[in-house]
């Protein structure tokens, strides 16, 4: 690899990392603002114009607070757990294409950090790693609330990962590739070429599973405030708590980006051929990606203030008895369709 290529990759990594962290900050602000708006309140609006600097104030507050390690906690794991949760959440974005190719310095640069051969599996693998952070945090805190939260979330994540994986399988069947780039390319062209129109059932299953995977309402049983105090992060304070917070939002961002990539054509702007427009097309594609992602991030908050939390047995019932058979049925139908199409 030559020097220029290396620099380009480095720049891409930095840009994606910075963008993710910035979006985390924006999400922290939006979460509180949108929540307030939906409850007829105004929300934070004192720090900076319209309260825009609120996340920074929060961050300073988090850093200033006393870092408490509870007595009887397993210290090394207690310290390690937030990092285990945060790192996979940030790593996932590496394989998601966020714009059409751009030509700079006489070479074509794909707007994606790494075009991994098995991209979608990479994402699924990393999301399954995130559960360690939660489970270990719950276990190491030496608190029953934390332990219950950790146990609940591990069972929940395992249950919903299956449905999510199977929903993705039908997409893989359609596009015939595990590369996210190919999946995006497959969805370009005519108006109804996005996977959401081809695979509405898979989309619904995936969306529900994503909410369970990111531990967001209505599936936030692992941190149910009303019953478990704070769930797995009950005992955490200061910057470690902030890391849990950041990980949750980073997970949401990747989940939204993945939903867009798999079902909403990624950076595809409907009915426009981005690659023929040069630099303008790239800007258009990135904007369309951000716009779609923004909608799904808004949906996360929107859903949070609309639906009540599931009971634990209902959650398991939905996962195993409804979503899993539906996903299998969907794969069956998709495979059948593809077979028939190949024969005809």
């Amino acid at each position: 690899m030559d020097l220029l290529g290396f620099i380009i990759i480095l720049v891409k990594v930095l840009v994606v990392f910075a963008a993710t962290m910035l979006t985390v900050l924006v999400m922290i602000y939006l979460e509180r603002r949108v929540s307030a708006f939906m409850q007829g309140r105004l929300g934070p609006n004192r720090v900076g114009p319209q309260g825009l600097l609120q996340p920074i104030a929060d961050g300073i507050k988090f850093m200033m607070k006393e870092d408490i390690v509870p007595a009887g906690a397993d210290k090394p794991i207690f310290i390690l757990a937030p990092a285990i949760l945060l790192i996979p959440a940030l790593m996932t974005f590496a394989v998601i294409p966020f714009g059409s190719d751009i030509t700079l310095f006489g070479r074509q640069i794909p707007l994606q950090v790494a075009d991994v051969n098995v991209g979608i599996l990479y994402v699924l693998a990393l999301t399954s790693i995130g559960v360690y952070g939660i489970v270990l945090a719950g276990w190491s805190s030496n608190s029953k609330y934390s332990l219950l939260g950790g146990l609940r979330s591990s069972a929940q994540l395992i249950s919903y990962e299956l449905a999510m994986g199977l929903a993705v399988v039908s997409i893989i069947l359609l596009s015939g590739s595990l590369k996210l780039n190919d999946i995006v390319a497959d969805q370009q062209g005519y108006l109804f070429s996005w996977n959401v129109f081809k695979q509405p059932l898979a989309f619904i299953i995936f969306l529900v599973a994503v909410y369970a995977e990111t531990n967001r309402l209505p599936f936030d049983l692992s941190e149910a405030e009303q019953e478990l105090v704070g769930g797995y992060h009950t005992e955490y304070s200061s910057i470690k708590f902030a890391m849990f917070f950041m990980a949750e939002y980073a997970n949401m961002i990747t989940a939204a980006a993945l939903t867009v990539t798999l079902f909403f054509g990624g950076w595809d702007f409907p009915l426009v051929d981005e690659s023929s427009l040069g630099i303008l097309g790239t800007v258009l594609s990135v904007c369309s990606f951000i716009l779609k992602m923004g909608f799904f991030l808004f949906l996360f908050i929107w859903v949070r203030w609309t639906f009540p939390r599931f009971r634990y047995d209902q959650l398991m019932k939905l996962g195993w008895k409804v979503m899993l058979p539906l996903a299998l049925f969907n794969i069956f139908i998709t495979a059948g369709y593809l077979t028939v199409r190949a024969l005809v």
């Binding site: 098995v118 599996l121 699924l124 399954s128 360690y132 489970v135 395992i158």
Partner: protein
């Protein structure tokens, strides 16, 4: 060559964490080190150009199997393993000796017979998902189906074992 250095680095982590898995008295620590071991193995798979298996290693072993382990360890809420009764010390020493004997014996055989090992091929074409899938659904179709049957049996068996009342 930096790539081979990466291999030895991963190998070192794998062996180190494997030893820690075995020597740790706390089951949770064992599980964590085992996950670390799996990660370094996944890295070695990547270096050996088995991309699909590298991801599967993390996905299945680290993501599913070890979570199950942790889940059970927490469910049973085990503390540290208690110290061994005195009369078993001898058996432990014996086990260590046997293992060392095994390791050196096999490596001796390998060193003596290493001339017969295949020379590496420069171009590797079988690492892709496509090749693996092709082999899985043509040449190894029967084992694949049997494996799925095995999973089904395991599923039923687990439910039967774990439920107090059927």
């Amino acid at each position: 060559m930096p790539l081979s250095l990466l291999f030895y680095f991963a190998a070192l982590i794998a062996v180190g964490s494997a030893i820690l898995v075995v020597l740790n008295r706390n089951a949770v620590y064992s599980a964590i080190f085992l996950v670390l071991c799996f990660f370094s193995l996944a890295m070695i798979y990547l270096l050996l150009e088995a991309y699909f298996l590298a991801v599967l290693e993390i996905f299945i072993y680290a993501g599913a199997i070890m979570v199950l382990f942790l889940f059970v360890v927490m469910l049973l809420n085990l503390g540290r393993e208690k110290a061994l009764p005195h009369f078993m010390k001898f058996q432990r020493a014996l086990s260590l000796m046997l293992v060392i004997l095994f390791f050196f014996g096999v490596s001796l055989i390998m060193v003596v017979g290493s001339g017969e090992l295949h020379q590496p091929t420069i171009k590797f074409s079988s690492g892709s998902v496509y090749a693996l899938g092709e082999a899985l659904f043509t040449k190894f179709l029967l084992p694949f189906e049997v494996a799925s049957l095995l999973l089904l049996v395991a599923l039923i068996g687990t439910v039967y074992l774990a439920k107090r009342k059927i």
